[in-house]
């Protein structure tokens, strides 16, 4: 009964907030209210099945509908999805295994450049024959390739550095990312591999393989309108895959080994855990996620340059993981969503609002303070540019006041019941229980 009331309440909220977005397509607040519905679904005391179906309905049906009304929201959803995927990957490294990787963006860059170089005419610069850009179908091949490339570079970097103490490891990964960025920036000569700071464009997008099908159904296909939706669903699928793999790793000997290493490396090794190999695996898995997301990013942006892969991006993703709660999958999702929306919508909104105030030329007369000439708000003061301050504040405040994050990892509870579990071949996993 309680379940039904809450379900009805949730459905009502989702419909109401979507209507708000429909009637006020320019309102950031309406969209935030809609986004909050996912959080409500997560927290509502309803059964797992209800949660999953409501979340699926919201993500698969309602959000794309809203996106067709206002494409900007779809763009935001895609960017949020990309950062959620990155945060989930970094969460494996930092959250599960306790390795502070400050150069995570390097793997993202490797994936992005992998597709950018071969999915554009760039590769013609060093491979003759004019085979490039590769056809769009190769996008999916490169998505798979990038997983291998990411894992390989992650392991190659990890091999020499994973024996280092935590803080040194952090600095080495940071140095590695700076080297990668400098290489990307400078390898336009002697051989033009990356086209340097000018970046690479145009990059091929994934093929619209379902176009004939849609046309057969009598739907007029407009690629410009279709691609955002298409990318949205690719991101969603990629996210699903990442969440599935992450969850399965977490609930396995590997996940337990990671947590043990994070908790007490000496005890872990004394229990027979091959620490370096497990750390390497965490590094490689995290790197392969980032690399795959990079391919997607390159295809979506059509243009990439080294500016997208700075230290700030690494720290931004770290801030997302820490805000949500290290080692927590829901935490990483929440953290990435919150930070991305804060940056994309709230700070930009504030910038626009300040601009409007400035141009209004109003002079406010405030009691005690005196008069304030709004046109004299300094033009260099743009809230949208203060991402670092946001990231910095998140990191400091979380470390001091809530180091375990907003949604810290829950205890994995596994009720052992040989009579049922062995026969059904399923693990009997109870519901999550609160910490402590």
């Amino acid at each position: 009964m309680k379940n039904r009331i809450f379900t009805a309440g949730l459905v009502g909220y989702i419909l109401l907030s979507s209507l708000l977005v429909y009637y006020f397509p320019q309102s950031v607040l309406a969209f935030l209210a809609f986004e909050a519905s996912l959080l409500l679904i997560y927290y509502a005391p309803v059964s797992r099945a209800v949660k999953l179906s409501l979340a699926a309905a919201t993500l698969v049906v309602v959000l794309p509908l809203i996106g067709t009304i206002n494409g900007y929201y779809l763009e935001i959803a895609i960017q949020v999805g990309i950062f959620v995927a990155l945060a989930l990957g970094l969460n494996i490294v930092v959250g599960f295994a306790g390795l502070l990787n400050l150069g995570y963006v390097a793997f993202y860059a490797i994936g992005a450049y992998l597709w950018a170089i071969f999915g554009s005419s760039q590769a013609n610069e060093f491979i003759s024959g004019g085979y490039f850009p590769l056809s769009q179908a190769w996008f999916f091949v490169f998505l798979l390739l990038s997983i291998a490339a990411g894992a390989l570079t992650g392991a190659l970097l990890g091999l020499p550095v994973l024996r280092l103490r935590g803080d040194y490891l952090a600095i080495v990964t940071l140095g590695f990312a700076e080297v990668v960025r400098a290489l990307v920036n400078n390898l336009d000569k002697p051989i033009n591999l990356t086209n340097g700071p000018r970046g690479i464009t145009p990059i091929e997008r994934p093929p619209l393989f379902f176009q004939p099908l849609l046309e057969g159904l009598g739907v007029a296909v407009d690629p410009a309108a279709l691609y955002p939706l298409y990318f949205y669903f690719i991101v969603l699928l990629l996210l699903l895959a990442i969440i599935l793999v992450t969850r399965r790793l977490e609930d396995s000997p590997v996940g337990r080994a990671w947590k043990a290493i994070r908790g007490d490396e000496i005890a872990a090794v004394a229990m027979g855990i091959p620490v370096v190999r497990m750390k390497l695996l965490a590094f490689a898995v995290g790197a392969s996620f980032a690399s795959a997301v990079g391919v997607l990013f390159a295809a979506k942006q059509v243009f990439i340059n080294p500016e997208s892969f700075t230290f700030m991006e690494s720290i931004g993703v770290l801030a997302m993981v820490i805000l949500g709660g290290m080692g927590s999958i829901p935490g990483a999702i929440l953290g990435a969503t919150a930070v991305t929306i804060l940056n994309l919508q709230l700070l930009k909104g504030l910038s626009l609002w300040l601009n409007a105030l400035r141009q209004s030329g109003l002079v406010l007369t405030l009691p005690l303070i005196g008069s304030l000439d709004l046109s004299r708000i300094p033009s260099q003061f743009e809230p949208a540019k203060y991402e670092r301050m946001i990231f910095g504040l998140i990191l400091i405040l979380m470390m001091i006041f809530r180091p375990r994050g907003i949604l810290p990892p829950q205890k994995r509870e596994r009720r052992f019941d040989p009579s049922t579990s062995l026969r059904t071949g399923k693990l009997t996993t109870g519901g999550d229980r609160g910490e402590n």
């Binding site: 080495v172 400078n186 230290f311 003061f381 910095g392 400091i396």
Partner: protein, 322 residues
Amino acid sequence: MALSLDIFLQVLMDGIVLGFMYALIALGYTMVYGVLEFINFAHSEIFVLGAFVGVEILLALESSGTLAALNPAFVVLMIILAGMIVSGLAAVALERTAYRPLRGAPRLVPLISAIGASFFLQDFIRLVESVWHNSFYLSYPTLSLLDRSVRLGAMVEVPFKSILVIATALAMLAGLYLFVNKTRLGTAIRAVAQDPDAAALMGIPVNRIISLTFFVGGAMGGVAGVLFGLHYSLVNPYTGFVPGLKAFTAAVLGGIGNIPGAVLGGLVLGLMEAFAASYLGILTDGAFGAEYKDVFAFVILILILIFRPKGLLGEKVREEGV
């Protein structure tokens, strides 16, 4: 371009100037690491703060028209002192707010907080300058005194700027050496670095000594900031990241926690970088040029950390118990 002697000497000079700059910044990393075993990632912003204090004072003097009337040596001395004090105090405040509450937490916790502080300070400086000057890219007004130079022999022309950097750095290093080794407070710093618990038992006020360490390290960073501004002229809130990382490299290169090591590491790195910047192009026939000098420094950092994390002067690393 040939490998001529005058170019060689010029590069040598640049390397030494750069090296002393790195050495001064590296002191802040190494002193704090010696006492707390913690990488003060925000030290690069303490350094930048010094540079901004210098430029703010010079700009204020310039706009009030007094800059020309004052003795330039006095002006330089004044901004160096101001940079020292402000950076030192900022480092103390930073420790109080962002690090002290995390004392005793796992090693990575204060490091993450320090990274946060670094980012926060970058944008905080930007915010203040944007509101104040409506610009956060500032350049040092020219001081005619510093644009002069002296000739050493027939080959080398040494700008006053370089002499200023080297002389100031040497004075600072000598002062620091005397302070750490010959005064009671310096002894207390060394005692805390060796064993904080034992130091506390001996009645040393450990918290105050840690604050003092941050002040001294921050002050050295502040001097470096002012010198950086006077030498290279342009500063912005994000200037600190790369020199900071390189100075940290220098500290590790010399043996982190080791004060003479930081100086040695700074000089070695500065010279290597200067020579790499000038000669990489020649050696590789133009394929790789000066743009790789940063890569060069970071590769050294990675290699040192992997193969000789104790650094050149191999300082003790507290053994981790089982």
